[in-house]
C-alpha cells in the first residue's frame, strides 16, 4: 500500500497498544450487541430470593439461598414444609396445611424463577398433605445480582448498548456540525471566518456543563434532549481542528484548480476540502467518543440522563455507588466496562494520531 492513508493504516496495524485497544473495543461492542441474548437472563427479570449476590461462577440457588427461598414460598403458599430432601437437581418436599393444600398455589414455585414445574407424587390425609418433586433450576450470575435480584452481567451489557449508542450518535452529530462549521469558516476566510470563530470563542467561555444540567433539570430528561445537549457542547473542538486544516488546504493548487474550473463554493468544500480533512477529523472523533460517553454517564450518574427502565453505565454506577458498603461488586462491574471502553478509545485515538503524523515512522 503506497497511498498516505494506506501507509497510515499499516503503521496503525504495527502499533500493538492501538491494535489491542481496537480488539477490546470490538469485543465490548459485540458483547453488548449479542451478549444479552446469550446470558439467558432477562435484564428486567428480578429474582427476589437472590438479591445482591456477589460475583461468582457457582450455580444458583446454592444451599445458602435455597432454605430462605423455600421458607418464603411456603409462607406465600400458606403451607408448612414438613420434609425437605434434595436428590441431585430435584427437591422432594412434603407440604402440609390444616385447611388443605391448594394445588393452584404450586404455581408459586416456578414463578419464583428458581424452580421448574412441580410434579405431585402423593396426596395424604385427604389433601392436607402433599408430596411433590420440584426440579431446581441452574442459574448463573457471573457478575452477581443487583439490589432487586436482577442479573448484573445482562444489565451491564444492555446498559452498554445505550451508552455506546449515545456516544456514537452524539459524536456523529457533533462531527457533522463541527466539520461543516469549521470547513465553511476556514474556506471563506476573512470577515466571515473572524465572526464565526469569535462565536466559537464565546461558546468556549460558557459554562456549558452547567447549561446542560439546567436544560435537563428544567425540561424532563429524555434521550433526545441529552443527545442534542451533548452534541451542542462537543462540536467546538472539531470546528477548530477542521478550520485549521482548511486554512492550509485553501491555498493549495488542487483547490485553485477547482476554482479555476468554475466549481461553486459548496462543491469545492464538499468534494475537495472535507475529504482532505479526514485524518485529523478521524483522530478528533475517536477522542471525542470517550468524552461523550463520559458526559453521558456523568449526567446519568446525577440522575439527569438515561431514565428507568432504560439503563446505562452511568445509571448502574450510580446504583453501585449507593450500595457500595453492602455490595461493592455492583460498582465494579459497570465501572470496569466503562473504564475499559474509555481507555481503549483513548489509546486508539492516540495510535491513530501517531499513525497519521507524517513526521513519525
Amino acid at each position: 500500500m503506497t497511498s498516505p492513508a494506506g501507509r497510515a493504516l499499516s503503521r496503525l496495524g504495527r502499533t500493538r497498544t492501538a491494535m489491542a485497544a481496537l480488539i477490546v473495543l470490538v469485543l465490548i461492542g459485540l458483547a453488548c450487541l449479542i451478549g444479552p441474548g446469550v446470558t439467558g437472563r432477562e435484564p428486567e427479570r428480578a429474582y427476589p430470593d437472590l438479591r445482591q449476590l456477589p460475583a461468582g461462577l457457582a450455580a444458583q440457588p446454592d444451599p445458602a439461598h435455597l432454605g430462605p427461598a423455600l421458607e418464603r414460598l411456603a409462607f406465600r403458599m400458606r403451607v408448612k414444609l414438613e420434609a425437605v430432601a434434595r436428590e441431585g437437581d430435584t427437591l422432594r418436599l412434603t407440604l402440609r396445611s390444616d385447611a388443605g393444600v391448594d394445588r393452584r398455589s404450586l404455581a408459586y414455585l416456578p414463578r419464583s424463577g428458581l424452580f421448574g414445574p412441580p410434579d405431585v407424587l402423593e396426596e395424604r390425609d385427604a389433601g392436607r398433605s402433599l408430596a411433590i418433586a420440584v426440579p431446581i433450576r441452574q442459574l448463573h450470575f457471573p457478575l452477581g445480582t443487583d439490589v432487586q435480584g436482577r442479573d448484573l452481567l445482562t444489565r451491564c451489557l444492555v446498559a452498554g448498548r445505550v451508552s455506546l449508542a449515545i456516544g456514537l450518535a452524539a459524536s456523529l452529530v457533533a462531527l457533522l456540525i463541527g466539520v461543516a462549521y469549521g470547513a465553511t469558516a476556514g474556506f471563506l476566510g476573512g470577515a466571515v471566518d473572524a465572526v464565526m470563530m469569535r462565536l466559537v470563542d464565546v461558546l468556549y467561555a460558557l459554562p456549558f456543563v452547567f447549561f446542560v444540567i439546567l436544560l435537563l433539570v428544567f425540561f424532563r430528561p429524555s434521550l433526545l434532549l441529552m443527545l442534542v445537549a451533548i452534541a451542542a457542547v462537543e462540536w467546538l473542538d472539531m470546528a477548530r481542528v477542521v478550520r485549521a486544516v482548511t486554512l492550509s488546504l485553501r491555498e493549495r493548487d488542487f483547490v485553485r484548480a477547482a476554482r479555476a474550473l468554475g466549481l461553486g463554493t459548496p462543491r469545492i468544500i464538499l468534494r475537495h476540502i472535507v475529504p482532505n480533512t479526514l485524518g485529523p477529523v478521524a483522530v478528533t472523533a475517536t477522542l471525542l467518543v470517550p468524552q461523550v460517553i463520559l458526559l453521558e454517564s456523568f449526567l446519568s450518574f446525577l440522575g439527569l440522563g438515561v431514565q428507568e427502565p432504560q439503563t446505562s453505565w452511568g445509571v448502574l454506577i450510580a446504583e453501585g455507588a449507593r450500595s457500595i458498603e453492602a455490595a461493592p461488586h455492583l460498582l465494579a462491574g459497570p465501572a470496569v466496562l466503562l473504564i475499559a471502553t474509555l481507555v481503549a478509545l483513548n489509546l486508539l485515538g492516540d495510535g491513530l494520531a501517531d499513525a497519521l503524523d507524517p513526521r513519525v515512522g
Binding site: S297, I324, I339, D350
Partner: protein
Amino acid sequence: MIRFILRRLAQALPTLLAVVTVSFFLMRLAPGGPFDLERPLAPAALENLRRVYGLDRPLIVQFGSYLASLARGDLGPSFSFRDQSVLDLIVRGLPVSATLGALALGLAALLGVGLGIAAALRRGGAVDRLLGVGAALTLSLPSFVVAPLLQIAFGLTLRWLPLGGWEGGSPSHLVLPVVTLALPQVGALARLTRASLGEVLRTQPIRTMRSLGLPPARVTRHALRGALLPVVAYLGPLAAALLTGSVVVETIFGLPGIGRYFVEGALNRDYTLVMGTVLLVAGLVIALNLAADLACAWLDPRLRADA
C-alpha cells in the same frame, strides 16, 4: 499590553451578557416555579410572594430590572435560602470550591508536568512507557467512580480518612476530594508536556546548544520555556473548571461548594442563585483564560508583538 487586557475585558462583556440572557430565559420558560412546594400554597399567599419577588411583572421587565441590579453588583435575594442573598451564599461556597480547586490544580500540575518532563527527556524510558498507557488510563477514570473507590479504600477499609464533609476545611477532609479532582488531569498534563517538550527538544536551536556542549540541565531549562506554552494555555480553562468546583465531587463528598449550591438552586428553581453561580463560573472562566494568555505572552516574546 494594557490595551490588550482592556480589549479582552471589553470582549468579555458580550459573553457575560449572553450567559445572563440565555440562563435567564432558559429558566423562566421552563415549567415549575420557586414556590411549587409539596403542599401547594394558598392562591393569595402565592400571589403575595410573587409580587414581593417581582415575578408578577412581564418577563422582559424582570430581565431589565435584574440587569439593572446586576450593574450595581447586587445578585438579588435567594429564593430557597430564606433571608440570605445570593452573594452571601457565594461568599460562603466559593472558598470551599476554591480551596479544593487550587490544591487539585497544584497537585495535578506538579505531578503531571513533572512526569511529562521525565518522559520527554528519556524517550522509551520507564516513565515514558508508563505514560503511554497510564495517561490514557487516568484520563478515563471518571470522578464518580474514583470517589466511591477511594471512600471504600481509605474511609471504610483502612479508616484513615473521613468519608466526606467539610469541617472548616481540615486537611484530612481535603485529601480524598483533592485527589479525585486532580487524578484525571495528571494524565492530561503529563501527555501535553511530554509531546510539547519532545517537539521543542528536536528543534534546531536546542540541537545547536547541545552540539556546543552546554550542560544538559541548562539546555532543558531553555527548552522548557517554550515547551510550557501549550501547558499554560491548557491550565487556564482547567483552573476555571477546578476552582468553580466539580458538581460530582462536591455531591459525593458532601462539600458545601459552588457546585452544590448550583445543583440545589436548579432543583429548587432558585432563579437568582442559579444565575449567580452560572455568572460566577463564566466570569472565572474568562478571567483565568485571560490570565493564561498573559502568562503565555510573558513566556513567548512573539505573542507579545501581537498584543
